[in-house]
Amino acid sequence: MEIAARIAEGFIGMFQRGGTQFVGLVTGIIPLLIVLMTAVNALVRLIGPERIDKVAMISSRNVLLRYLVLPFLAVFFLTNPMAYTMGRFLPEKQKPAFYDAAVSFVHPILGLFPHANPGEIFVWAGIAAGITKLGLGLGDLAIRYFLVGLLVIFIRGLVTERITAIMWARRSAPEGQGEEATSATEAAPAVETGGAAFASGEEA
């Protein structure tokens, strides 16, 4: 009997520990999050998506604007996942690179503007919780995450644009130029269908 009681206590204890954790998260993160998200949501609504569209059209012309300013504006104002609709202002060959840049920014922005992707906040908040527990401020980490994030999305934009251009050239190269060229063009779609199948499968 005593053993059974001890097992029961251990079983409940495990969830009590989880409960303490939950209360810590709710009281530690949610109050600030709610007020901050309300403020930024209001700002975004007051500015309106039409004005962002205009900025996006101008931003498409320059590399620095395209993979640095536009992804930031898109993620800040339209949030995940609507941010990717900004890609419609870009030429086809730059769309994958823009997507890569924009999607890579939905987490670095969380430290400063959690309204942009609240459903995935624990990518940031999980690690940040450890820093808080040590009694250190989050500002330093948040701002560095944000700035490094900007640099990384810019590099991703450039690299992906380059890779897209190479694959595009390979695909549209005229057929029958020797076996190597043909096999290369055939290899590319094979890889792609695998990726697409995984991706769409996961989304569904």
Binding site: L46, V103, H107, P118, V123, G126, I127, T160, G195
Partner: protein
């Protein structure tokens, strides 16, 4: 008299409009908290509770912590997450990144991982971001089917380069952070 009335009406309408927007912003926020944030907190709390209580935490402390407290371990982590076949599988909902991030956060809080590694770790757990979503993301950007066919492998390949690179940049950028600790 009529001008005054018209002016008052305009003001009233403008104020009503702004208040409506603010109220809607609050409603959106609470919606998000209830629908997305609280459920994830419940899920994370349960996992942490089990891990801390059962001693799995010690195993993680001995395997994950050494990996996450040096740059080579973090690089290895980012390369694994960026492998083109794995990255779309690890991507959905950023669940893997969130769970691993929370585990690392616990270890940082316990002092097993130095706090300055928080920055490179944030990038090491996440080179797969959005890899599951490329066709949908491109479709939202009104891309042609041909663009999607090329774009999916292009982004996946690019991550193999930029994933580890991001960790290196973050590592360099973390110098001097929480130095006194």
């Amino acid at each position: 008299m009529q001008a005054v009335a018209r002016g008052l009406e305009a003001i009233g309408r403008a104020v009503g409009n702004v208040v409506g927007i603010l109220y809607q912003a609050g409603r959106d926020t609470i919606d998000q908290v209830i629908r997305n944030i609280l459920p994830f907190m419940a899920f994370i709390s349960m996992i942490i509770g089990i891990i801390l209580y059962t001693g799995i935490g010690n195993i993680i402390a001995h395997t994950l912590s050494p990996l996450a407290s040096n740059i080579f371990g973090l690089l290895l982590m980012s390369v694994i997450c960026a492998i083109p076949i794995l990255s779309p599988l690890l991507g959905p909902g950023a669940v893997i990144a969130q769970v691993v991030g929370t585990l690392l956060g616990v270890e940082i809080g316990l002092g097993h991982i130095p706090p300055q590694y928080a920055l490179p770790a944030l990038f090491a757990i996440n080179p797969q971001v959005g890899c599951d979503f490329i066709p949908v993301g491109l479709a939202l950007g009104e891309a042609e089917p041909e663009t999607t066919e090329i774009g999916v492998p292009a982004v996946l390949m690019s991550r193999l380069i930029t994933g580890p690179l991001a960790v290196v940049i973050a590592y360099l950028a973390s110098f001097g952070m929480y130095a006194g600790h």
